[in-house]
């Protein structure tokens, strides 16, 4: 009697285990496919020109997406200028002082902002920056990306600061250190590793956005003359090139996608590296 129950259990266990393994494999398939395709189609277009030359007119070879790579970096940089101070400060506020109705409201709204479709963020940036300035610009793109990054940075900063043991705050306060100094110089300093991780995650997300840039930074086939002008970005280029009928453009789109993915991969590795070394210090 118990014998059969044993076998039932065993087979059920094996079945579940297999199912889990299968699910993992299935989950990985898209990632592997993407990598494979990207490398297969894009690697051929990756040459020195790609990283140094501007896009060439149709038919001409030897062009690159140098401006797009630089553009993406600039746009993300601008986004950081907006989102880092706002996000980190908001995160500090929510963690250290936000145990009240106001803090709860802010938290809720942050989560709402997080869920806003990125194209809507783009429209907002359009309304806020492009319309008054009367033209598309890198600033507008930066604002759009910045707004996108704020919720991520805020929430991760808050969560990581919350993990700092309360005893540390107590120790600082008991020494006669004012609350604000405690928050900034003791608590933040202790959790800085986690905060940086959050920022890098936000950057990774922003770097891969296309929709908000469509009507803020627009695009630019040439080097931008100033930040008040439209600027190129990898994502928009990929978007444009991939629906074009030209073969070499499509190849460049794949290459662009590959570069973007590698960029994000490098960033993730950097995050891992940063968090690991700060742990080993402890």
């Amino acid at each position: 009697m118990s014998d059969s129950r044993f076998w039932l259990r065993k087979y059920f266990s094996i079945a579940m285990f297999t199912l889990c393994g299968l699910s993992v494999v299935i989950a990985f398939i898209p990632l592997i496919l993407i990598f494979y395709r990207t490398i297969a189609f894009g690697a051929s277009a990756l040459d020195w020109n790609f990283f140094t030359k501007l896009p060439t007119p149709v038919g001409e070879t030897g062009g690159g997406l140098a401006n797009a790579i630089v553009g993406t970096l600039i746009l993300v940089g601008l986004g950081c200028c907006l989102s880092l101070p706002v996000g980190v400060m908001a995160g500090i506020y929510l963690s250290e002082y936000g145990q009240n109705w106001f803090g709860n409201t802010v938290r809720f709204l942050t989560d709402v902002l997080n869920g806003v479709p990125s194209i809507v963020t783009g429209v907002v940036a359009y309304t806020l920056v492009v319309l008054p300035m009367k033209h598309f610009s890198a600033y507008a793109g930066g604002v759009a990306l910045g707004i996108l990054m704020i919720p991520t940075i805020t929430r991760t900063t808050e969560e990581i600061l919350k993990t700092v043991p309360h005893t540390l705050r107590e120790a600082a306060l008991a020494l006669g250190i004012p609350q604000w100094k405690t928050s900034l110089q003791i608590v933040l300093r202790t959790a800085i590793g986690g905060v940086v991780t959050g920022i890098m995650l936000a950057i990774a997300r922003a770097a891969g956005e296309t929709a908000p840039l469509l009507f803020t930074a627009l695009n630019n086939r040439f080097w931008h003359t100033s930040l008040g002008q439209p600027i190129a970005s990898l994502t928009v280029f990929i978007y444009n090139y991939s629906v074009s009928p030209f073969e070499d453009w499509i190849a460049q789109a794949w290459a662009g996608a590959l570069v973007l993915m590698i960029l994000i991969l490098l960033l993730s590795i950097a995050v891992r590296f940063a968090t690991r070394s700060s742990l080993s210090e402890r």
Binding site: A172, L173, L175, Q185
Partner: protein
């Protein structure tokens, strides 16, 4: 009821050779006075109408079973209690006669230092920086002066000889007992007048505990010390006066030798003999 005990100052110690702790240096000056102090967490009352005086240069031990309000009372002295949301306090606590709740809290906490149960050195800072933290964040920038104070504080905490070659190592790299002494040095660096200790040795091994107790005995020449402890024998060894708390009330407060040889209240005697709690 218990009024005589509550409002009376403990008698000034006679210079007897046999008294542990009282070598005659306890002055008659009252350093900290508490009058009808009650502390609340929301609706719960943790401390019920406690009045007691702590003489200057005395070591006062606060004993009692878990949850009797002793830590809460201690924390209300340096206004750490008010940091807890929904907390409330009634009554008056005075340092040298001045109401502590009317002072600037930051200034107060520089005069009344605190050492906690679990040693909590700042993990991102070196030993040197830990001790200097209170000074630097209080606005001191004179490197030489800071260096002097750090050395003095570490010596006072009986830690200097063990760490003087390791000052730039992380504070968290020390053993538990050393970390606790580091926290004591850190608290002493800002030159407080009073030191509050909340079960400072309860997380330590016996040898580290003995070292911390030695320290307290040495420190009381310069500071006034109040220590909460659930270890009665420690209270007996280390303190001049002992206050027995039960369920938020101060049951008895007297010279330590009296509490441990002839307590006035049966409850006190039941507690110290281990009949309950």
């Amino acid at each position: 009821m218990t009024e005589e005990i509550e409002t009376t100052e403990p008698p000034a110690m006679k210079t007897e050779i046999h008294s542990t702790g009282g070598d005659g240096r306890i002055s008659d000056r009252v350093k900290i006075s508490a009058e009808h102090v009650s502390a609340y967490f929301g609706k719960t009352q943790a401390v019920k109408d406690v009045s007691l005086n702590i003489p200057e240069h005395a070591v006062v031990a606060i004993i009692g079973p878990s949850g009797c309000g002793k830590s809460t009372f201690l924390r209300s002295i340096n206004r750490m209690h008010e940091l807890i949301p929904d907390s409330r306090l009634t009554g008056k606590i005075a340092l040298d006669g001045e109401d502590v709740y009317k002072m600037d809290a930051v200034l107060l906490r520089k005069k009344i230092g605190m050492v906690f149960q679990k040693a909590n050195p700042f993990p991102t800072m070196s030993i040197y920086d830990n001790v200097a933290a209170g000074l630097r964040m209080g606005g001191m920038h004179d490197r030489k002066k800071i260096s002097e104070i750090v050395e003095r504080s570490l010596q006072q905490a009986a830690l200097w000889s063990e760490v003087k070659d390791l000052l730039y190592k992380s504070g968290a790299s020390l053993s538990g007992g050393q970390q606790q002494r580091l926290c004591i040095a850190r608290a002493l660096a800002v030159n407080p007048e009073v030191l509050l200790m909340d079960e400072p040795a309860s997380a330590l091994d016996p040898i580290s505990t003995a070292k911390v107790e030695d320290l307290i005995y040495e420190l009381k020449k310069t500071y006034t010390i109040a220590i909460v402890t659930h270890n009665m024998q420690q209270a007996a060894r280390v303190s001049d006066y002992t206050a027995f708390f039960y369920m938020g009330e101060l049951i008895e407060y007297d010279e330590t030798r009296k509490i441990f040889t002839m307590p006035s209240k049966k409850q006190t005697e039941d507690y110290v003999t281990g009949r309950f709690g």
